[in-house]
Symmetry: C2
Subunit: 338 residues, 2 copies
DNA sequence: TTGTACGCGTTATCAG
DNA sequence: CTGATAACGCGTACAA
């Protein structure tokens, strides 16, 4: 059990000063070949590594970035996280992660914890509760302290900072257009509560596509489901009491659940009803039939967010906030015609 | 943009010494009511928070734990992670996470990075490559430096440390027993390369159940698949050229893929072939038919691992390593009879 | 070529 | 009651 050695210990052992050791280990020209050799050999032997904490304190840079996401057992968020982690790693940054569990309180708690010096900047996606409350004082606080922040996916216009978002409105429009082109006319939308910016934007795209084609926007054809629910009866009733031939779902699970219900009702997918969902996750690839989905390119989102953040940490960008838009693409599978 | 205030700044502003401020903020009895009030009011106004990094340096405790997992877009690992995060949070710890991407090199890199003072202990699950190489010097290194380590799920007997594992052998045995009880006799195993301790243990349970019932262990009925592969032809051939009426799969994806193949071959699940998979993930709940699975209780594993680690960090346990076994349970769905 | 002194932010100890 | 000092581990400007 040889504990980690410090500069001081090496210095003492070799009977030189701490600064000599420090310089020698950085191969400084100031130090003679002889002492450098001696010190470097010793350091290697005892496997010296500078202490990150001490460096952080000295440099006022932790080389850590804090990520706060609403959920971790979640395909999209983990995909984004993977992108963040990869990119950050390449630029020498580590990642601390906190999960808000969709809770306003936990989001604040986590932010305050990390903001006390542990990280150089934040990447986050807002919790459901935060978007519902529409209260962003904790974000303003952090920004006010000069800590950079990048929001992704679940963002808000109330905060001025770098953002990475999907072209939600456009891709929803495209998706619906595609269904119309394949002959569908009675198109439903299955969505979450409207306070999610993403759901809101997707709904806008859905409506625009209908209007563009002279189709009515029928409120009865919009089903709003709670974020997490095991109860399928609402879905059952919705599809039983409405005449629907195509559905756009704002996430994968909703789509899978709805497909399951309509198939149990004896309808054929995609002939009778076609489906498109958001999030190109694992479910889509293995469902029956395989689900056509909107790929959000989470990994790219993550990389982009990390790039924006680290650029801001390392260069003094002074305002001048960017919003990068990731272009979604539609992955055609078996739940749509053609 | 009011930057974070330090003790020193408060001291200067109020014309007292740094130590007085420090004490006043901790409500020390040594300080007079008056000065305490004054200092506390000022601190509150400027929203003073002690700097984590400085505290870490002083206390030689970071209150961070490092988690290294092979993959993040992965139901089981994220579930475990959720358990870790929740439990750690309750005990005042933050989590730094690194992904090894199943790579030996990256695992070592990540460990070295975090071991340089950033964390008080590790929780990890070994990468595929590490298990294949069977080289654990980096783990020994870290343990040698006095940094506590808890392994979960993918563990090794070569390292002495706290561990959290599943009763893999037993639950595989139970699963196969159940299929035999329901009348199945020609039972296949679909597994990964044998260097995974979990696959190895599950195979042992599978064999024990067969032997216990006087059934032959037929090597032809064991299919070994690469960890990640898009090619289904091996699976197709396997089920075409063998007479099989039940299958135990060591993970969820394998099970879903195999079910898909045999159904395309015109067989009925579970009447002709029944399936049980490991990992009670999202796929199992939405597949057709819904998959009977072994629930690994990842969240509990995570909590347990975090508890073991933090206990070891905070108390000097001096060897005396525990291995906690989590009891898996079988979730019966539609892919098995009864 | 080497060493001294200082500062990063905090707390504990001891002196006043 | 309050303040000065040392220490955690490191790097660097400056002095010798």
């Amino acid at each position: 059990m040889k504990k980690r050695v410090t500069l001081k210990q090496i210095a003492k052992e070799l009977d030189v000063s701490v600064s000599t050791v420090s310089k020698a280990l950085k191969n400084s020209e100031e130090i003679s070949r002889d002492t450098k050799d001696k010190i470097q050999a010793f350091a290697k032997l005892y496997n010296y590594r500078p202490n990150n904490i001490a460096l952080s304190l000295k440099n006022k840079k932790t080389k850590n970035i804090g990520v706060i996401i609403p959920d971790i057992v979640h395909h999209f968020f983990t995909t984004v996280f993977r992108g963040i982690e990869h990119y950050a790693g390449e630029r020498g940054y580590n990642v601390m992660i906190c999960v808000s569990d969709e809770s306003f309180e936990k989001e604040i708690l986590n932010m305050e914890l990390l903001a006390n010096g542990s990280i150089d900047g934040f990447i986050m996606s807002l919790s459901a509760e935060t978007q519902e409350k529409n209260d962003y004082t904790h974000l303003k606080e952090v920004l006010g302290q000069g800590i950079p922040l990048v929001l992704f996916d679940r963002v808000t216009e109330d905060i001025e900072c770098d953002k990475v978002i999907l072209n939600d409105e456009q891709i929803a429009y495209d998706a619906v257009q595609g269904m119309i082109r394949s002959g569908k006319r009675k198109i439903a939308l299955v969505t979450t509560e409207g306070y999610f910016n993403v759901s809101f934007d997707r709904a806008r795209g859905y409506k625009r596509a209908l209007e563009m084609n002279g189709l009515d926007v029928d409120k009865a054809l919009v089903l709003t489901l709670p974020y997490k629910s095991e109860d399928d009866t609402v879905i059952w009733d919705f599809f039983e009491s409405n005449d629907i031939d195509a559905v756009l779902c704002v996430n994968e699970i909703f789509a899978i659940k709805c497909m399951d219900v309509v198939q149990r009702q004896g309808k054929k997918v995609p002939e009778d009803i076609s489906f498109i969902g958001f999030t190109n996750g694992i479910l889509s690839r293995y469902s029956t039939p395989k689900l056509t989905t909107v790929a959000q390119h989470g990994e790219l989102m993550g990389e982009t967010a990390a790039r924006l953040l680290i650029d801001r940490i390392e260069n003094d960008l002074e305002g001048n906030h960017k919003t990068e838009v990731i272009s979604a693409t539609i992955i055609h599978r078996e739940s749509t015609i053609n």
